[in-house]
Amino acid sequence: MTMGLYQFKPIPSGRMGTLWTLASIRDSALLEFGCMGHMNYSRVFLERVGVSNACKLYSAHIDETDIALGGTRRFSRAVADIAQRDKPGILFLLPSAVPEIIGTDLPALCRELQPDFPDMRLLPFGCGGFDVNQHQGIREALTLLSRTLPVDVERTAQPSFNIIGSCADLFRFQADAAEIVRIMEGAFGMKPLCVMTSDTSVAQIERMGGANVNLVIRREGLPAAEHLQKRFGTPYLLARPYGIQGTCEWIGRVSRIMGISPDRSFVEGEREEALRLISPALPMFRHAAWEHPENVRVAAGGHADVVQGIVSFAGSELSLSKGACWCDSPDMADGDLPYYAEEQWTETVQKEGKSLLMASGEALEWAGRSTELQIANPDVKWRLNPYEPPFVGFHGAVHLANLWVNAIMEETF
C-alpha cells in the first residue's frame, strides 16, 4: 500500500487526541480557531463514544480573508463571546490544521488577550503539527493539564486517588474507569478525587494534588504523574489491572506504594466470586487448548497497554496462548509488541483464521469476525451506554472469560 493511502482510518492527529482528552472536562470551554467542519464532525465522534455536554465545544471558523491577512479578529470575538455568555473559568484553545500552516501563534494571541479576561484563563494547547499523532497529543494534553491546573492543597482528610489517562479515545473507557473506582472503594475505602479526564471537572483537576496515589492507566499519563509526584509527592502506579490474579497483584502494588493495607475480606471475596463465575469455563479452555490449540490463540491489536494486559491474563491465568499481537502507535512498539500499519494488520487479521481476534471494531467488521471481541477503536458503532461490562478488574476478568468461551464454542463445536 502506498504511504499515505488508507482504506481504514489512519492514526488520528495530535490535534484530535488533544480534543478527545479535553472534551470530557466539565465546567470548561474549548475553542478551535480553524475550519468549523472539524468541530462539527468532532461533536459527532464524541457523542457517539459517549461524551456530550461536558466541555463546551466551539469553533471560530477561519476564512480566506483571515488567512490572507493573518486576521485574528474572528478569534478574539469568539473568545469574548464565550467569556460573556458561558463565563467558564478556563478556556482551552485547540490548534487546528489551517492556522498551523499559516503560522498562527496561539500562545501569543492568548497572552495578548488574557488581560481582557481576568475571570477566564486562556490555556493554549500544542501538538498542532503534522508530525504529531493522537497518542502524543493525549500525553501532552494530560501533562499540560497536570502542570497548569492543580493548586496547592493539603492531602484530603479521607484517603483519595486520581485516575490518569481515562480518555475518550480508549474503547469502553467509562466502564474500565468505573471498575477501578469500584475496586479502590472496596479495597481501600478510597474515593476518586479526579478521573482524568473522562469523569472530571476543572475544579477536580485543580484539587488533584490532594490525592494519596495516582493510578496511571496508560503510558501517555506518565509525564503527568511524574510531575504530580515531584510537586505534591504523590506516588503513582502505571498499570492496568487485568485478570483475577492480575487484579489482586495490582491491588497489592497500590497498597505497597501507598502504605495502606487493603480490606482483605473485600479482595478475597471479589477473587472468590470471580473464580466461581469463570470456573465452569476452565475445563473448556483446557480441553480446547489440548484439542484445538489454534482456536485458543488470543490475537490482539489496539492500545499497547490494553493489548499487553489482556494477552497476559489469557496466557497466565487461563489456558489460552498468544497469537499475533500489535499496537496502534509506532511510539509504543517494541520487540514483543510491534506497531502494525493498515497493510500489516489487514494481512495479519486474514491469517489469524480461527484465533480469538480482539481488535478495533473497524478491523473486526472488515474481517467478518465477531465485533463482540472488540477491545480498541476505531469503532463502527454508537456507544451511548456507559454501563457495559469492563475489561479491567475482577468484573473485566469475568467478562473476558465469558467472551472467550463463547468465541471458542462458536469456532470449535
Binding site: 500500500m1 502506498t2 504511504m3 499515505g4 493511502l5 488508507y6 482504506q7 481504514f8 482510518k9 489512519p10 492514526i11 488520528p12 492527529s13 490535534r15 484530535m16 475553542l31 475550519c35 468549523m36 467542519g37 472539524h38 468541530m39 462539527n40 464532525y41 468532532s42 461533536r43 459527532v44 465522534f45 463546551k56 465545544l57 466551539y58 469553533s59 471560530a60 471558523h61 477561519i62 476564512d63 480566506e64 480573508t65 483571515d66 488567512i67 474572528r74 470575538r77 469568539a78 469574548a80 463571546d81 464565550i82 455568555r85 490544521a97 489551517v98 500552516i101 499559516i102 503539527g129 503534522f130 508530525d131 493522537q134 476505531p378 463502527v380
Partner: protein
C-alpha cells in the same frame, strides 16, 4: 439591533463572503463541503472517491461513508498528507495512490482536495492530467477548502459539475427528459404530477440525483430538457445549457402559480406537447390556499433559519408577494441567481439582514430580540418563543403547484398550532 450591526443587509451582499456569522462561536456549526460531496459520491453508482487531507478530514469522512468499498466495486479511500508533504507537496504520493486505486479496479475516481491541499496550492489538477495519460480509470478533481465558504452546498454543486465535466455531446433523444435533483428510487416522496404527465406522454425520465449511476449522468446530454428540482444541481444544469444547449427549466425557484404555469407552458412548447387539464386540481389547491393564506400571512414578519434543500431567496421573494416581511435570513449559500431575488425583494420594499446561523443557543435569543411573528425552518434544538415552520426538507423532490400548496399548508399549520410542540423528535420527560 446593536447585536446584528456586524451583519450586512441583502442589498449589500455580492457573494458568500458578505454573509457573516450571526454569532461568533460555531456549535455545532455547518458541515464542510467534503460532507456533501462525499455523501453524493457514495450514492452514485460507479463513482469511487479519494479524500485528500489531514487525519481529521479522512477519519471523519468515515462518518459519511463508513466502508472503503461498495457493492458495485466502488472504492472510497483516503490519502493523508504527512508533515513533509505539507511543505513540499504530495505529487509523488498522490500519483502512487491513484495508480493503486486504478489497479484495484476503480473505474471513475473523484479526487476531493480538502483545506490543507487547497491552502498549500497543491496542483492536483496537474497530477490528475498526468495520471490520466497512463491509467484507464477516469479522474475528476474538486477542491473544497472550507475556508472558502461558510457551508456545505459547494461540495454538492462542485461534485456535480465535476461529474458534468466527463459528459460528452450526444445525439438528442426528443423523448428523454432529465429530472435533476430527485432520486430515481424515491419511495416516500410522491411523484410530482408534472413528471407523471410526461411519463403518460411517453417520455423517459432520467433522474439525476443520489441513487443514480454515473452512466446516467454520462448519458444526460441526450435529453431534450433538464427539469431542475434542486438549487444544488442548478450549476450543472447551467453547464449543460452552455456545453450542450440542453434547456433548463428551473422549477426549484418557482413558487407562484403564475410563474409555474409559465414554466410548464415553456416546457410544453420545447417538448412539442400540449398539457390537458392535468394540473388543474393542484393549481386550484395552491390558489385556494394562497387566498386563505393571504389574510393570515400578510403583514407577518419572519426570520428564516435552516430550511434544508430549499434556496432561501426565491422562497423569500414568493413570500414577499404574499406580504410577508423577512427580517433576517440564514443563507446556506449565496447562489448566482440570488442577486435577482434580492432585487425582487427590494421591489417589495424589503432588505433583510442576511447571516449564517451556526450556534442555536446563542442565535435563538438574537432572533427573539427581533420579535418576529414566525420562524421559517428550524434552529435545531433551540426553543423559540414564536411559531416555527419545521421540516421544510419534506419539500425535497417536489415541484410545481403541489410544492407551493405543501409550503402554504405548513405555514398555516404552524400558525394554527397551539400549545407545546415537539419539533425534534426528542423525548419529553
Amino acid at each position: 439591533m446593536s447585536n446584528v450591526s456586524h451583519l450586512k443587509r441583502l442589498s449589500a451582499v455580492r457573494s458568500n463572503a458578505g454573509v457573516k456569522f450571526l454569532t461568533p462561536c460555531a456549535f455545532p456549526g455547518s458541515h464542510c463541503p467534503l460532507h456533501s460531496a462525499l455523501a453524493l459520491a457514495g450514492n452514485i453508482r460507479g463513482v469511487s472517491s479519494l479524500v485528500i487531507g489531514t487525519p481529521e478530514c479522512v477519519t471523519y469522512s468515515r462518518v459519511v461513508l463508513q466502508k472503503p468499498g461498495r457493492r458495485h466495486g466502488e472504492l472510497h479511500w483516503m490519502y493523508v498528507l504527512d508533515a513533509h508533504e505539507v511543505v513540499f507537496g504530495c505529487r509523488k504520493g498522490l500519483l502512487d495512490a491513484i495508480r493503486e486505486m486504478d489497479r484495484a479496479g476503480a473505474k471513475a475516481i473523484l479526487l476531493i482536495g480538502t483545506c490543507v491541499p487547497d491552502l498549500i496550492g497543491e496542483d492536483i489538477e496537474g497530477i490528475v492530467r498526468e495520471a490520466q495519460q497512463e491509467l484507464s480509470a477516469r479522474f475528476v478533481f474538486i477542491t473544497l477548502g472550507h475556508f472558502k465558504c461558510n457551508s456545505f452546498p459547494s461540495g454538492s454543486w462542485n461534485m456535480l459539475k465535476a461529474i458534468g465535466s466527463l459528459m460528452e455531446p450526444r445525439t438528442i433523444c426528443p423523448q428523454v427528459v432529465n429530472v435533476m435533483g430527485r432520486s430515481p428510487d424515491e419511495e416516500h416522496i410522491p411523484m410530482p404530477p408534472l413528471l407523471s404527465a410526461l411519463e403518460k406522454r411517453g417520455f423517459t425520465l432520467r433522474c439525476l440525483a443520489p441513487g443514480a449511476a454515473l452512466e446516467d449522468f454520462l448519458e444526460a446530454p441526450d435529453a431534450a430538457a433538464n427539469l431542475v428540482l434542486s438549487p444544488f444541481i442548478d450549476p450543472l444544469a447551467a453547464d449543460m445549457e452552455q456545453a450542450f444547449g440542453t434547456p433548463a427549466f428551473r422549477l426549484h425557484s418557482a413558487y407562484a402559480p403564475a410563474q409555474i404555469d409559465s414554466l410548464y407552458a415553456a416546457l410544453a412548447e420545447k417538448l412539442g406537447i400540449q398539457w390537458e387539464n392535468e394540473f388543474d386540481r393542484e393549481r386550484s389547491e395552491a390558489l385556494s390556499l394562497q387566498e386563505q393564506a393571504g389574510d393570515r400571512l400578510h403583514g407577518l414578519r419572519y426570520v428564516g433559519a435552516h430550511i434544508g434543500p430549499l434556496s432561501a431567496l426565491p422562497l423569500a421573494a414568493y413570500l414577499a408577494s404574499l406580504g410577508m416581511e423577512p427580517l433576517m435570513l440564514h443563507l446556506e449559500e449565496f447562489w448566482p441567481d440570488d442577486k435577482e431575488c434580492a432585487k425582487a425583494l427590494h421591489a417589495y420594499g424589503y432588505d433583510p439582514y442576511v447571516c449564517h446561523m451556526v450556534n442555536r443557543d446563542s442565535d435563538a435569543p438574537l432572533l427573539e430580540s427581533l420579535a418576529p411573528d414566525l420562524c421559517l425552518g428550524e434552529l435545531s434544538g433551540a426553543r423559540l418563543g414564536f411559531p416555527c415552520v419545521p421540516h421544510l426538507s419534506d419539500l425535497y423532490g417536489l415541484c410545481g403547484h403541489e410544492r407551493t400548496a405543501g409550503l402554504l399548508k405548513k405555514l398555516l399549520h404552524a400558525l394554527e398550532e397551539s400549545g407545546e410542540r415537539n419539533d425534534n423528535g426528542t423525548v419529553s420527560i
